[in-house]
């Protein structure tokens, strides 16, 4: 065990994967000698050479196109998109190519070995284009997996699992936790299962569900609610696609209430899928409407960032509204 922040945990996962398998290659804008603008790929080029860790030209569609071809060839690319806000030029390569490659070829070819890493999320004074949480766009894409860690331990274990999983994985790193979240991380190799949610705290009155950096927020809100005698069950979804409906449904059947929190705008955010599925799975158990605490349906505004964010206070108020419905 070592104390690591999330960046160090990501770096440790990459070193582990590249050491174990020489087919693993890491690339993207500024990831080479410089080690990435957040330094998640520090020292990889030194350790593994320029052929296996390298800068690309500045083109996200090119990075993912290149990565798709590399994956189909049999290598194991780990491509970085510098900010999730800049993943959209690669949307076609991801949605029409990465995700459909295996299906369209009847399983003859695939991009299963591909992992795409990208920092996402707000709370860092980034305004419109350094704050977005685009997971819902990708949740509508059969063939992809989407994973979001909430702390350094998860970051390493889930990233290693993502790299080794034989499906393309979008690995979204909550950048406001990069240095803020510090914890014990095994130095050795380990993986955590994809597609599994984690019940972080048991409770009886309401289920609170989030992922990534918003886990802190719902935990804080739960602590406030417990002062009022409200017992919250807290779940980290961990994987957005495929998501662990059964764990969530089991919890909601117990508590009778569900609140989902995410940073992305509310309309057609991933909370809507969860709400739609859970009202179906738990219809007779629900004691109040499933509640979504989300970003506003606006671009991400710098000056009003605090007001925009689905923070612990908004969550706490929503918990009370649910419980006193």
């Amino acid at each position: 065990m070592a104390k690591m922040n999330m960046l160090q945990a990501v770096n440790s996962a990459l070193i582990t994967a590249m050491t174990e398998n020489e087919k693993v290659m890491v690339f993207g804008e500024d990831v080479g000698h410089f080690g990435g603008v957040f330094r998640a790929t520090s020292n990889l080029q030194e350790k593994f050479g320029k052929a296996r860790c390298f800068n690309t030209p500045l083109t996200e569609q090119g990075i993912i196109g290149f990565a798709n071809g590399l994956a189909a060839q049999g290598s194991t690319p780990v491509a970085e998109i510098q900010f999730a806000d800049y993943i959209f030029p690669a949307f076609d390569q991801i949605v029409n190519e990465t995700a459909k490659w295996r299906y369209r070829s009847g399983g003859q070819f695939s991009c299963g070995s591909l992992t795409i890493r990208t920092p996402y999320g707000g709370g860092i004074s980034g305004g419109l284009y350094h704050s977005q949480s685009p997971e819902a766009f990708f949740a509508h894409v059969p063939g992809l997996k989407i994973v979001v860690p909430r702390n350094p331990y998860q970051a390493k274990g889930l990233l290693l699992a993502a790299i080794r999983d034989d499906n393309p994985v979008l690995f979204m790193e909550p950048k406001r936790l990069y240095r803020a979240s510090v914890g014990d991380v095994p130095e050795h190799d380990y993986t955590l299962a994809l597609g599994k949610a984690e019940v972080v705290q048991a409770g009886s009155d309401i289920t609170l569900l989030a992922w990534g950096a918003q886990m802190e927020v719902i935990e804080k809100a739960a602590a406030m609610a417990s002062q009022d005698g409200i017992s919250c069950e807290i779940i980290d979804l961990c994987s957005i696609l495929p998501w662990d409906r059964d764990t969530v449904a089991a919890s909601v059947k117990k508590t009778g209430r569900l609140l989902i929190n995410h940073e992305a705008p509310r309309t057609a955010g991933f909370a809507s899928e969860i709400a739609a599925s859970i009202q179906e799975a738990c219809f007779l158990h629900l004691e109040s409407p499933i509640t979504r605490v989300c970003g506003l349906d606006t671009p991400y505004p710098l000056a009003h960032e605090k007001e925009y964010m689905p923070d612990h206070l908004k969550t706490y108020e929503a918990i009370k509204r649910c419980v006193h419905f």
Binding site: K23, M25, A51, R52, F54, T56, P57, T59, Q61, G62, I64, G65, F66, A67, N68, G69, L70, A71, A72, Q73, G74, S75, P77, P89, D92, Q93, N96, E97, K100, W101, R102, Y103, R104, S105, G106, G107, Q108, F109, S110, G112, P142, G143, K145, D166, N167, G195, P242, R245, D246
Partner: protein, 394 residues
């Protein structure tokens, strides 16, 4: 190529020089003249009689397949087809210069390359009838071939996407240390996509052993090349990327073969991309959904029909004494028969089992897909007559 540092070796001028057409005037390699005779000062590439015959036979084969399948589509037997008439030399001549381990990533009008690799008539038919024998399980429209054993990547419809993919594939080959290159085919229309730029530039910077072969056939559906770009074709772009470039007569199979052989050698030994622009003409309609009379003249078509690549090569073969009229006729007749009989047989093969609807989305189907399949099967069982292709086998 130049030293890449952004200011080293830049010359100076003290006048405001506007550079326009002055610098570029890229010539086109032609070895055989329109009548099939060799240009006086040209040197032929090394080509055995056997290879020459295989090339000619593949050209004849694909032309017949195209004719028959266009007819089959008109008869409503298949939903869609796309012929390559007039462009056989570009794809077959280039495929002939490759090794079997080289990966082919094509656009969709490269059935000639696929036939050259040994794809059988039955395999073509299986794909076009989307049946259960189809290697890709019948999920895409007709003409979206793909076959792993022949190193022919499954075609996808979105244009240009295969260009950066080919760069990545070739990089992987280089890293794996295999003596193989990737060839990437695309049209001059697809070359307008952003992915073209990304793929070419990355290949150049990352030293990928990939051959980019642009079929500049004058049209992208109805859009003529003069509404597609304003420069000196696609070749001039290669120079901008620092990519070695060859412009070739796409209707001269000998020139295409020689150019591709050269390109392959460069790509493999120098670890770098090469761009080939094959100047040709889409004599066919864009596809069976298209009618070119709406946007071009018969006259233009006739001028190009006169440059027919198959006849040109046959004439050269004849001059070598390698062409046997009888043999050729027999081959053509046999191909016709084979196509027709396969068509009849393959038509009867059923589509894949309904279980396949959820396979290959992931390596193994997750819970939600299993649920959806179970629901679907129960539903089909309730209304078998509404789902005749699959209800018989649940």
């Amino acid at each position: 190529m130049k030293d890449r540092n952004h200011l080293s070796n830049v010359g100076l001028t003290n006048q405001v020089e506007v550079i326009s057409n002055g610098l570029l005037d890229i010539p086109m390699v032609q070895l055989l003249q329109a009548d099939g005779s060799l240009h006086g000062d040209a040197t032929l590439p090394d080509m055995s009689e056997e290879l020459a015959k295989k090339i000619l036979h593949t050209m004849q084969y694909i032309r017949i397949l195209d004719e028959r399948m266009v007819a089959a589509q008109r008869q409503g037997r298949i939903s869609f087809y796309l012929a390559c008439t007039g462009e056989e030399a570009s794809t077959i001549g280039s495929a002939a210069a490759l090794e079997p381990q080289d990966m082919i990533m094509s656009q969709y009008r490269e059935q000639g390359a696929l036939a050259f690799r040994g794809f059988t008539t039955e395999q073509f038919m299986n794909q076009m009838f989307s049946n259960e024998k189809e290697l890709n399980k019948g999920r895409q429209m007709p003409i979206h071939y793909g076959v792993k054993d022949l190193n022919f990547m499954t075609i996808s419809s979105p244009l240009g996407t295969q260009i950066p993919q080919a760069s990545g594939y070739a990089y992987g080959q280089k890293m794996a240390g295999v003596p193989a290159v990737t060839i990437c085919y695309f049209g001059e229309g697809a070359a307008s996509e952003g992915d073209f730029h990304a793929g070419m530039n990355m290949a150049a910077v990352l030293n990928c052993p990939v051959i980019f072969l642009c079929r500049n056939n004058g049209y992208a559906i109805s859009t003529p090349s003069e509404e597609q770009f304003a420069g000196d074709g696609i070749a001039s772009r290669g120079i901008g990327y620092g990519i070695k470039t060859i412009r070739v007569d796409g209707n001269d199979v000998m020139a295409v073969y020689a150019a591709t052989a050269k390109a392959r050698q460069i790509a493999l030994t120098e670890h770098c991309p090469v761009l080939i622009e094959a100047m040709t003409y889409r004599l066919a309609a864009h596809s069976t959904s298209d009618d070119p009379t709406g946007y071009r003249s018969k006259d233009e078509e006739e001028r190009w029909r006169a440059k027919d690549p198959v006849q040109r090569f046959a004439a050269w073969m004849q001059s070598k004494g390698w062409y046997n009229e009888e043999e050729s006729k027999a081959h053509i007749e046999q191909t016709r028969q084979e196509v027709l009989s396969q068509l009849k047989q393959v038509e009867k093969v059923p589509v894949c089992h309904i279980n396949e609807i959820i396979n290959d989305v992931y390596d193994t189907p997750p819970w939600h897909l299993k649920e959806q399949l179970a629901e679907l099967k129960a539903h089909i069982a309730k209304y078998p007559e509404a789902y005749p292709k699959t209800a018989g086998r649940l």
